[in-house]
Point group: C2
């Protein structure tokens, strides 16, 4: 009988706690092998400071599990700590394994993105070297959907549902005055355009969808952009809505968000004004076209809107946590759980365990053939891929008019 420890790392998603619930609830089912379920506070960084909780003290029954699944952000807190190379610095690993042994941990689960997979891989490598029996499993998450090999990343579907729904609502709002105003919307995605592209899901019989969508996969042409916006804004009665990834870059590699910083001199304190990509483009449209422009940033709303979870995403996020625990119980280690798509219509998937090295430090981009030849929208292939991932809803538990969450003291 060994204890379980679980942590969350990197940016949160609207369903990252579904994966935590999957690990927790499944570990309880392995009562013959698994004892307490401990939670690292703020990931591996908190563990090194001996900050952890006994999950059972806070998640006391199946109803608490359900509230946990509906709670945004990372229940256990997060970190962005990068472990050193075990060959260069053994001290850190000695400390971590000292604490894990002290806590009688036999199963280690880490819910995170690329960097977190790297963390597990390093822990496993060191553990193998010292002959530790601890099993290390990765549970994927990221709103960016940039994890390799897996069909999709848990967290992406809910963020996409939020972006698509909010964009659809904004499109109706934008055209209300019939004045040709331009709206520029910014979605997350530093290097990949999966999430910005999801705005295209707004299109349907009741919505024209966004006019243009720009992704970081294609070099951004500012003059071409202004020309396109100018043509759209001149259409009678039309109010263009344009969606951009925060990480779009010029052909020379500069981020559009960096251009904003160049334009605006530093203030009296020597600090430069940081400007978002949408704000910068809005300023350009305003200056060069004289059009009325509004910039909307989804900011952290798009990763924390648990009130608009995708059911497919929530079920999948739970399933990868569940599979990780079952795999660990059967002796697997140094693995990450991924999705294989069996069918798109109807959507069907299975979870599988895979060698960690195949995922760690690899970024999956939107395939270039899923971007239109005009480089300003996505094709039906993208829609066919993403639409199954936003299906279904998970109703929040509303108490007194507000969604109820669960949190650590």
């Amino acid at each position: 009988m060994k204890n379980v420890i679980v942590g969350q790392s990197g940016g949160p998603t609207a369903v990252i706690n579904c994966s935590l619930a999957g690990v927790y609830a499944t570990a309880l089912e392995h009562g013959d092998k698994m004892g307490k379920v401990l939670g690292m506070r703020n990931g591996i960084q908190g563990l090194m400071e001996r900050r952890y909780v006994d999950m059972g003290e806070y998640i006391r029954d199946d109803f608490d599990v359900e509230i946990l699944k509906r709670t945004p952000s990372s229940f256990l807190g997060s970190c962005r700590y990068k472990l050193p190379d075990p060959k260069q610095n053994e001290a850190v690993f000695e400390k971590v394994f000292g604490i894990l042994n002290e806590l009688e941990v036999g199963y280690f689960f880490y819910i995170g993105g690329n960097d977190s997979m790297d963390t597990i891989n390093k822990l496993h490598t060191y553990g193998e070297k010292i002959g530790s029996p601890i099993r290390f499993l990765g549970v994927p998450k990221t709103v960016d959907n940039d994890l390799a090999v897996t069909d999709h990343s848990p967290g992406f579907g809910s963020a996409a549902k939020y972006v698509a729904t909010s964009t659809k609502e904004l499109i109706l709002d934008a055209r209300v005055y019939n004045n040709g105003a331009v709206t520029i919307v910014e979605a997350m995605g530093r290097n990949t355009g999966w999430l910005a592209a999801s705005a295209a899901l707004a299109k349907g019989p009741d919505s024209i969808g966004p006019d243009l969508v720009f992704l970081p996969e294609i070099a951004f042409d500012l003059d071409g952009f202004l020309d396109k916006v100018s043509i759209l804004a001149q259409q009678k009665g039309h109010s263009p809505v344009i969606v951009v990834s925060e990480g779009i870059q010029l052909a020379d590699g500069r981020y559009v968000s960096e251009l904003g910083r160049e334009d605006v001199p530093s203030d009296a304190f020597g600090h430069i004004q940081l400007m978002g990509t949408a704000s910068y483009l809005a300023q350009q449209v305003r200056n060069k076209l004289g059009a009325k422009v509004r910039a909307v940033e989804f900011a952290t709303l798009q990763r924390s809107a648990a009130h608009l979870q995708s059911q497919v995403d929530a079920i999948g996020a739970f399933a990868v946590g569940q599979h990780a625990v079952n795999a660990a119980a059967e002796g697997e280690t140094n693995k990450v759980i991924i999705f294989k798509r069996l069918s798109s219509r109807p959507y069907a998937f299975e979870t599988c365990s895979m060698e960690l090295a195949k995922m760690a430090n690899i970024e999956k981009h939107v395939p270039l053939e899923w971007i239109t030849p005009t480089k300003d929208h996505v094709t039906q292939d993208y829609i066919d891929y993403a639409l199954p991932l936003i299906q279904g809803e998970v109703a929040p538990y509303f108490v007194n008019g507000m969604p109820r969450h669960i949190r650590l003291p």
Copy 2:
């Protein structure tokens, strides 16, 4: 038998189409007196260009009515047109009444805020002078909740539910890294703080709520603000979340959002960079405290999030449209429909018609006694007032993972 005409004016809300549905569905019930229901496109401005639709061609049955109620933005489009003084300029009124008579209109309904009530009042005044039998009724709406006399404004409850829910989600997200980062959230409200204050509804057994809330009703003290944020950011493990109205002003009357414009010189084109209130304050906190800061603006999301309608608000918005038609059928004119609160717990209201002049051009502010003596939060009196207005949910009709709306071609 006379026709009905209805229009929408000013900024939209998440439930403004519930009022349109209330007018439309109720007019159909008065088949003995009321004929076609015409919709002005883009309000009175569109009417003057003879742009209108026959609502019956687009809202064909009770199911369409339900979809309309769940559709954000103004179905008929909006305008910000201000009618001249009928004593100064009769030509405009001759034109409007010419069109109304041509369309055989006997009942005129206008869904809007303060300015719209002024429009109706002027139309009535002119109509009375020329002996027109057309009845003019106002149906209130505004997310700002600044309309006088009525218990609350339709549209406010849903916007408040969105602001409170999103703030609650952001508070969990903000504290995820345990790094003392500061989040500054901006809500609508140029002159009144009703909506920013609704963030306080996030507080509960599962949330500490926002740390500070600043409203335009109280002069904003920038140095005092920075001192308070500094103290909060130094609390171990705390990540402060602060909510501000877009319209907070210094004691000398300058808007905080104006200060941003002064700080940043104009660019090569001679244009100054417009900056939001939250962005400006974030910059100040970054510069003066060196803290990690994020600004989040709810932008037009807060008025278009029909996916998070308050049921109390949706029912009320329908009821004022309904009451307006019933009042007109009984011969009333130059009236606006308001809510009277009968009880807070449980919430019970009735609708009444009131002289338009009592509402037009008057702004209702948050009572100063509902703001804490420290001038940085609201009291329990505000919570007791606002909490009933966010009760209940209206589930969107999800089709293929997305809320279904209805729109004019």
